[in-house]
Each structure stands twice: as structure tokens, then as C-alpha cells.
């Protein structure tokens, strides 16, 4: 038997599952007993747990003049009431790069800086008693002026942190002046301000944590997070104890979308309160607490300037960002770094410059939300391309085709400082134009315009590139075959809906041939899996998944060597199929289970991609706009999302669908709104509109798969593509629907009021160009 032949068999077997629509192994439990989220835990160690209820600030900015907890202390079921002065932990800076003085207190003592900031903690025997007692905590406030507007924040007129002496938390590229000659030689230069509005991740499961201390002096914390290991490190650091004393377990997680990366300070407070009371403590917030307590996303005020010639060549681009950190800088303050990196998008622009200033405001802190810095970059450049195309009177798709990076230029170092691995942008654009029937749509649009229909058609095009697997490139995996024929896979990634239990089992199966039902994927337990980067930034398959694939492949080699000794055969004559090692062409063999019975059969492996990948795509959105009411409805969205070869199309499509929906939603519906006094106006699901099934169409997905050279699967990330591509396509489509009336820009969300105002302003100005701006919060 030749090596060639057994490799061919390996490939065929691998192909039998890789790339197929395997339904999820986690679903039978999810669809019968239901998943087990943090608030569902019935672990016996939690018997007699206290319920934690926070008392939160009703004011955006105020001095605390008095706190009286006596009434609460005497309420039924109350075991303890804690204020900030009781807490002996050091107030942490939640983003290392923030200005000194911007630490977040555990519970506010002197001052509150956003509505929802915790001021006191009430521990009760049951949760209803907690609500009752929290109402009895009396806090006197002396109001201070709120700081909601970003420019007002940047002016430092009212400071949030006196000791910092500034509201600027941090910045990127602020040390260098903009080049006053950047647009020299351009026939046309267009500039405008764009609001990339504040959004709430709105995972259906709110934040939750539960903690209990053991007699060994270790604390076990169950929490809803996208990364147990980072949560463990943060909690240990905040508590000031050795990492070895903290055990974090992630039960099922009901959605994260970036907002559940790592730990929230509340998780550490739960652990601290459990130590103080000597009892287990449970915390699960309400939705209205979540809407002010969990980090928000986006929140950038951008100024774009684009210049080029009348033939359609873009020659220079500038992006100036003012980003909102919220009250206490967190991960959101880092994200403009990625916005700057991805500023030029898919375009080969000779001159690009950007900078970003991050300021604190008296609002909820910002963090990651699906796309995390990249959607903001894409929205800016795609809007700029549309404005440029409109100015020179060329079709927006044509202007894009003219300026995309040539496929022969990869790997391509951009003016944003990134090295794109692969890209076939023109091909993606052509595919999506083809699949959407772009020419026919333009013809239909022309007919409706000619007729003066009430319902006008808008067509939006976006071409995008994003960055996936950025930040942490390495991931651990362990694959073990047990004597009973089952397999355990340990992974440092942390699914919260992505389907790793199924996908990682497929990867192990592709090497071992053991049915996926016999493969258990474990994650999110820091004692079992001490190292891991979690699931965020669309990193999981190209890091953790590849590590599993690699570990299973290495396990096969170990098994073959052991089987060769046992069977007295040449390793090169052995093949692994259906969970057994056999001598090719014979029935002689030994099962992996038997080998595992003789000696532990387990491989630990680390995969390091060394670099992020840059998936790309193109979207076309078709929107109908009623010019009398201003209402826009997405009729159709067609997307090309190239994430390389697809492991499980069912799961990948699910990621695309969810992303597209969130993109449509940002473009048309969602916005976290504060009034001038810093009161949140969107703190419930009644006020914060994200779509139901009735507001969305079905989606048309077009496949394209350009592999990356960065990992053996050729896989790139897919989790955020839909959001990054769909948002600008839909926004553009709405503006396109009314562009013949003289409208050039409408900020997101393009609500009926905004669209109606834009139309009326344009009509009022006799068809001159009109922009409708959003609130620059």
C-alpha cells in the first residue's frame, strides 16, 4: 500500500463530514429541558444562596450627600446591606489605557456618573425581598450638569473626574497634525459628519453571576461570559488574590455579541459579598438594569473627507473620530484603534489619515458590540464612497469597482497599517450585483421615479473587509479518546450560540472517525481548561477550531505509532477510520478505545495563526421607502460573505443571518438615546426597538470561499460579517430611495421621522442637497 493511497482515503473520509450541514448536537437538550444559564443553576453548593439586588443611581451626574440604609436593613429577609465605604477593594481602572483618575468605584461613594451606577448592594433570602428592600435605601443627591454631547465632553467644561483634569480618556493618532495637503490634486472633495449611533447588545440573557467560597479558600464563580479565563484573571486581580484561588465556570450563555467579553466588576462584587457573608450569593439583573448596566457599543461621531477625480478614482481619505467611552472607560475605548486600522476598507487609496479621541460622558460605559470598531470604519468609508459617487454622478457600484484593491496585490499592506491576507473584492461585488439583479433593480427604480410613486425603491451597495481573529492568535485544544470509545475535546473558546459543541466534534470526527454523538466538547471551566482566549472577534474557528483539528490529527499519529507496535505493522500501512486503526487492505486492527484502555490516549496542542485574517464580502440591500410617511422597509438583502471554506454551512449561515439582522436593525431601528440631562430614554425593550420577525425579510445568501494561508483549514471568521456589510448597505439604500428628491445623507437609524424630515427639507430647499443628521451623543 502506498502512502498516496491512504492519504486519498483520509481526504475522502474527511470530506464526508467537513462542509456538511450537520444539525447541532446541543439542540436536543436545548429543545427539551432547555439550556442551563447562570440563573438556572441548581448546584448543591448554592443551597441557601443569598440574592443580590443593586441600588442604582437615578441621576446621570450628582454628588452623593447622604446614604441611609437603616430602613432597608430592617426589612423582611434582609441579611446585609453594603455601601461603598464597606468595601476594602481597590477601585479598578477598567481600561488600562485610560487617563489616571478614571477608576470605577465598586459602589459609588462621593459621586455618581451615569444612570444605573451601583450605589448600594442588598442581600436577601429571596429576590422579591431584594426589590422591596432596595426601595428602602435612601440616598440624597446633589445634581451636577450631565455631559451627553461628545463635543461638550471634549471641551472639558464639565469634568467627570476632577483628578484626571480632562474628559479625554485616551486617543489614537492625536500626536500628529492632519496633512493640510492631503487633498491636493483632487477635482472633488466631499466632507461630512456621520453619527454611528450608540447601540445596546441586548443579549436575551442579561448579566448574571453566582459565587461560593470553599473550605479550601478558593472561590467558584459561575458567570455569563464569553471568556471564562479572562473573567477568572480579572476577578482575581480585582479581589487582590492569587489567580489559583479563583475557579470560573461558564454555564450556557444566552448571547453576548461582544458585551460579555471578560468579567464585569459586579462579578467580583458577587464573590466579595459571598466572602463577607459566608454564604453563596446569586445575582441576575433585570432588563432595565441591563440596558443601563451592560456595556453599549458603537457611539462614534465621525467626520469623513474624501477626494478624487471626476473619472471616479479616490485619491485621498480622512477619518476623524470622536468616540464615546461612557462614564468609566472600558473596552470601548480601545475600539477606535480598529476603526483606524480598517479605515480604508477594501479600497486602494493613495493617501489615508485618521485619528480618534475618546471622551468620557455621563452615560453607560461602552464596550464591544458585534464588529467592535470595524463596522464603524466600514460605515464611514462606504458612506464616503456614496457621497463621492453622488458628487461626480457615477453609479456607486461602479465607483467601488474602480477603487478596490487588485486581487494580485495580496498580501496587501494598507494605509491603515493592516496586512490583508487575501481579497477578491471585485469578484464579490460582481457576484452580489448579479445575484441581486442590480441592473433590473435600477430599471425598476427609474420607472418608479418617473411615475412619481409614493413607494420608491432604494438600492444600497456595500463592499467590506473586516478583521477576524485579531488580538489573540493562539488557542489551546485537548483531544482525548476514552476506553469506552467516547471522546472529550477541551477548548479555550467559549460558545454562546455559535455551535462549537457540534463544529468542534466535526473537526475531531474528521480525523478519528468516531461519531460526533460520542464526542463531548467542554469549554468555559478554568480548572479544566486553564488557558483560553474565549469567543469574540470572530476568532473561534480559525484559532480554537484549528487547534482541535490539529490535536485530533496529532492524536491519530500517536495512535498509529502505538498500533504499529501492537500489530507489528509498519506505521505507513496503517489507516484510521471509524474509530479504529487498521492495516490497509486487511481486517487486522485495533480500536482507538482499546488503545486508550492500554494507556492514556490524549493530545494537547496549541495552534498559533500568528496573524489575523481579513474576510470580506459585498451586500446589496433593496429598500422601499414611502415618501409620504418616511417609512423604510427592507424588501430584500443579498449578501456575499467570504470566510474561506465553510466547516458547517448550517452554522455559518446562522451567523450570517443574525449579523444581517443586527445590521438592518442599526440602519433602521436601534439607538440608545439619552436626554440632555443624561436620562436614558431607551432602558426597556418597549423603548429600545430591535426587530421581531415581522420587521425583517428572509435573506439571500451567496457563497464565495477564498481560503486564507494562515491556517490548515483555510478558514476565516464569519460571526460579524453580516453586521459589518449589511449596515451600510441598508443605510445607503434608504438614502438612495430618496436621493432623486435631493437627499444626500440620513443618519442611522433611518427612522420614518428622519427620512420624512430629509425629504421635506429637500423639497423645501427646492431640491438642493439636504442632510439629516442624528444626535451627536
Amino acid at each position: 500500500m502506498t502512502r498516496h493511497r491512504h492519504h486519498a482515503r483520509d481526504t475522502l473520509r474527511a470530506m464526508s463530514i467537513m462542509g456538511t450541514r450537520v444539525v447541532r448536537t446541543e439542540d436536543p437538550v436545548f429543545l427539551s429541558r432547555g439550556a442551563t444559564y447562570t440563573d438556572d443553576l441548581t448546584d448543591e453548593r448554592l443551597t441557601g444562596a443569598l440574592h443580590l439586588t443593586f441600588v442604582r443611581s437615578p441621576l446621570a451626574h450628582a454628588t452623593i450627600t447622604a446614604v441611609d440604609v437603616e430602613g432597608a436593613r430592617n426589612a423582611p429577609g434582609v441579611v446585609d446591606v453594603v455601601t461603598g465605604t464597606d468595601i476594602d477593594l481597590v477601585a479598578p481602572k477598567l481600561f488600562a489605557g485610560a487617563a489616571d483618575g478614571m477608576e470605577r468605584p465598586w459602589l459609588a461613594t462621593d459621586k455618581v456618573r451615569f444612570v444605573g451606577e451601583p450605589v448600594a448592594a442588598v442581600l436577601t433570602e429571596d429576590s422579591y425581598q431584594g426589590q422591596d428592600a432596595a426601595d428602602l435605601v435612601e440616598i440624597d443627591y446633589d445634581p451636577l450638569p450631565a455631559v451627553v454631547d461628545l463635543r461638550a465632553a471634549a471641551s472639558d467644561e464639565v469634568l467627570l473626574f476632577e483628578s484626571a483634569g480632562t474628559n479625554t480618556s485616551n486617543g489614537f493618532g492625536l500626536g500628529k497634525q492632519f496633512d493640510e495637503h492631503l487633498f491636493d490634486g483632487c477635482d472633488v472633495v466631499v466632507t461630512r459628519e456621520i453619527v454611528n449611533q450608540r447601540l445596546a447588545a441586548a443579549s436575551l440573557e442579561t448579566r448574571a453571576a453566582t459565587a461560593v467560597w470553599g473550605e479550601d479558600g478558593r472561590v467558584t464563580v459561575w458567570c455569563s461570559t464569553q471568556n471564562a479565563q479572562a473573567a477568572r484573571d480579572a476577578i482575581a486581580g480585582w479581589l487582590g488574590i492569587d489567580v489559583a484561588l479563583v475557579h470560573v465556570i461558564t454555564p450556557d450563555v444566552g448571547g453576548g455579541f461582544g458585551a460579555k467579553i471578560g468579567a464585569d466588576p459586579e462579578f467580583a462584587l458577587v464573590a466579595w459579598l459571598a466572602r463577607r457573608t459566608g454564604r453563596p450569593v446569586r445575582w441576575s439583573e433585570t432588563r432595565s438594569e441591563n440596558m443601563t448596566g451592560m456595556v453599549h457599543g458603537r457611539a462614534q461621531l465621525q467626520t469623513v473627507t474624501i477626494g478624487g477625480n471626476r473619472e471616479g478614482d479616490v485619491l485621498a481619505y480622512r477619518l476623524d473620530v470622536l468616540a464615546d467611552a461612557g462614564a468609566y472607560p472600558r473596552l470601548g475605548s480601545l475600539l477606535p484603534y480598529f476603526t483606524r486600522m480598517m479605515a480604508p476598507g477594501v479600497y486602494d487609496i493613495p493617501k489615508v489619515e485618521s485619528r480618534a479621541r475618546v471622551v468620557v460622558t455621563t452615560t453607560t460605559s461602552t464596550g464591544a458590540y458585534r464588529g467592535a470598531g470595524r463596522p464603524e470604519a466600514t460605515a464611514a468609508i462606504e458612506r464616503a464612497m456614496d457621497l463621492f459617487a453622488a458628487e461626480i454622478g457615477l453609479d456607486p457600484a461602479e465607483v467601488r469597482r474602480r477603487n478596490v484593491i487588485d486581487p494580485g496585490a495580496f498580501p496587501f499592506r494598507t494605509k491603515g497599517g493592516a496586512v490583508y491576507d487575501t481579497g477578491e473584492y471585485a469578484q464579490a461585488l460582481d457576484k452580489v450585483l448579479d445575484a441581486s439583479g442590480y441592473a433590473a433593480l435600477r430599471a425598476e427604480q427609474a420607472v418608479r421615479r418617473e411615475r412619481g410613486d409614493v413607494v420608491q425603491l432604494g438600492i444600497g451597495v456595500s463592499v467590506f473587509v473586516e478583521i477576524t481573529g485579531g488580538g489573540a492568535f493562539a488557542e489551546d485544544a485537548s483531544v482525548q479518546v476514552h476506553p469506552d470509545g467516547t471522546v472529550t475535546v477541551l477548548t479555550g473558546t467559549s460558545p454562546h450560540g455559535q455551535g462549537h459543541a457540534t463544529a468542534w466534534a466535526m473537526l475531531a470526527h474528521s480525523h478519528l472517525g468516531i461519531p460526533i454523538e460520542k464526542i463531548t466538547v467542554r469549554h468555559g471551566d478554568t480548572d479544566l481548561i486553564p488557558r483560553g482566549g474565549g469567543t469574540m472577534g470572530s476568532r473561534s474557528l480559525q484559532t480554537g477550531g484549528v487547534a482541535v483539528y490539529q490535536a485530533a490529527g496529532e492524536l491519530v499519529e500517536v495512535a498509529k505509532r502505538r498500533a504499529a507496535d501492537l500489530l507489528e505493522a509498519d506505521v505507513d500501512d496503517l489507516v484510521v477510520a471509524d474509530g479504529a486503526v487498521t492495516v490497509v487492505g486487511t481486517t487486522t486492527g485495533v480500536t482507538l478505545a482499546e488503545l486508550a484502555g492500554r494507556a492514556e490516549l490524549k493530545v494537547d496542542s496549541v495552534f498559533d495563526s500568528g496573524a489575523p485574517s481579513f474576510p470580506f464580502g459585498a451586500h446589496v440591500a433593496v429598500v422601499e421607502v414611502d415618501v409620504e410617511s418616511g417609512k423604510a422597509v427592507v424588501d430584500r438583502i443579498v449578501t456575499v460573505d467570504d470566510a474561506g471554506p465553510i466547516l458547517n454551512p448550517l452554522l455559518a449561515e446562522g451567523q450570517r443571518h443574525g449579523g444581517i439582522a443586527q445590521g438592518i436593525s442599526q440602519a433602521l431601528l436601534e439607538e440608545v438615546v439619552y436626554d440632555a440631562d443624561g436620562n436614558p430614554l431607551t432602558a426597556t425593550f418597549v423603548d429600545y426597538g430591535f426587530p421581531s420577525a415581522a420587521e425583517l425579510p428572509s435573506f439571500t445568501l451567496v457563497d464565495m470561499a477564498t481560503p486564507t494561508h494562515l491556517n490548515p483549514l483555510g478558514a476565516k471568521g464569519i460571526g460579524e460579517a453580516g453586521t459589518i456589510g449589511a449596515t451600510p448597505a441598508v443605510q445607503s439604500a434608504v438614502i438612495d430611495a430618496v436621493s432623486h428628491l435631493g437627499v444626500r445623507h440620513i443618519d442611522m437609524p433611518a427612522t420614518p421621522v428622519r427620512v420624512w424630515e430629509a425629504i421635506n427639507a429637500a423639497r423645501g430647499s427646492g431640491g438642493a442637497r439636504v442632510d439629516t443628521a442624528g444626535s451627536a451623543q
Binding site: 432547555g34 440573557e205 443574525g658 425593550f685 428572509s698
Partner: protein, 176 residues
């Protein structure tokens, strides 16, 4: 107050506070944790259960309001993970769930919907599930799952009024 309630075919009884929500009765008193609570405002539908056969949001009913009635939760549809109810099985087949948090309510709402309208169009499914929010799936595969559960092929099922042409719901084609 003393209440008695049949839940998933079994008799339950407890002495409860009048203010206790049905959702908390199910989760905390009798320990059925599938039913989730996702909001405080009757918006998300994660807590949807069947009350005497009709889908209701259990965070908006007091437990005492369900006294002497019959409740079915997702656990009651498919007591055995190895043998899923047809609607639950369709959710699995079409990947109609990701994080799973909205799923118990969504499945119960779908059961209620199909009871009232056994062969819905795509538009009828979308409007029928309007009271249930999902943040993960974009609803695409949930809609397919419900169509499949109704015995239709999701690829060829009737789109309903809104998808018949390019005109979206609530609009006229009339010219100005």
C-alpha cells in the same frame, strides 16, 4: 394564597405570595427552568407558555391567575431529549436556535400559532411570532422551522401578501 395547577400533565400545588409571577412559580417553586425571563415589559416572549392551550407570557400573569388551570412548558412538549416534539424537531432541523434563550418561548409561541393556523404563509408566521424576540438568528431559520413544522417545504412555502411583489407590508402601490 394556596393554588393548584396542572403543569405538563402533573398536579402541582403551593402556598404563594399573591404577587408571585407565573414565570417565577414555574422556575423557582416547581423548578422548571426552561422558561426564561428576558425583559420586564412583556416584550420579548422568552417566558411564553401554554395556558389551557393558548400561548401566554408567563411574566405577565400572576401565578394565582393560573390557579386551577393547565400549563404546558417546553419541558412538557418533549420530556425526552431523544424524542423531540415535531415543532422542537423542526427548530433543530432548520437551525432555528443559537444561544437558546428565546427558544423555549419561541417554540411555545410556534405551537400556539400552528394550533390557530395550521398552514401559515411566511408572512403569517412572521406576524404570528411578532411578540417573541430573538437576537441571534435574524428569524430566518425560525420562520423556516415553523413552516417545516406545519408540513410545508420552507423553500417553496407561500410567502404571503408581503412577499408577493416588491411592495412591503402596509404600503400601497398607488402613484402620487
Amino acid at each position: 394564597m394556596k393554588i393548584e395547577m396542572t403543569v405538563n400533565g402533573e398536579a402541582t400545588a403551593a402556598d404563594v405570595e399573591p404577587r408571585l409571577l407565573l414565570a417565577h412559580y414555574l422556575r423557582d417553586v416547581i423548578g422548571l427552568k426552561a422558561t426564561n425571563i428576558g425583559c420586564d415589559t412583556t416584550s420579548c416572549g422568552a417566558c411564553t407558555v401554554l395556558l389551557d392551550g393558548e400561548s401566554v407570557k408567563s411574566c405577565t400573569l400572576l401565578a394565582v391567575q393560573a390557579d386551577a388551570q393547565s400549563v404546558v412548558t417546553m419541558e412538557g412538549l418533549s420530556p425526552d431529549p431523544g424524542s423531540l416534539h415535531p415543532v422542537a424537531a423542526a427548530f433543530r432541523a432548520e437551525h432555528g436556535l443559537q444561544c437558546g434563550f428565546c427558544t423555549p418561548g419561541m417554540v411555545m409561541a410556534a405551537v400556539g400559532l400552528l394550533r390557530e393556523n395550521p398552514t401559515p404563509t411566511e408572512r403569517e408566521v412572521r406576524e404570528g411570532l411578532e411578540g417573541n424576540l430573538c437576537r441571534c438568528t435574524g428569524y430566518h431559520n425560525i420562520v423556516r422551522a415553523v413552516l417545516l413544522a406545519s408540513g410545508q417545504d420552507p423553500d417553496t412555502a407561500r410567502p404571503g401578501a408581503a412577499g408577493d411583489g416588491l411592495v412591503a407590508p402596509g404600503f400601497s402601490v398607488g402613484s402620487a
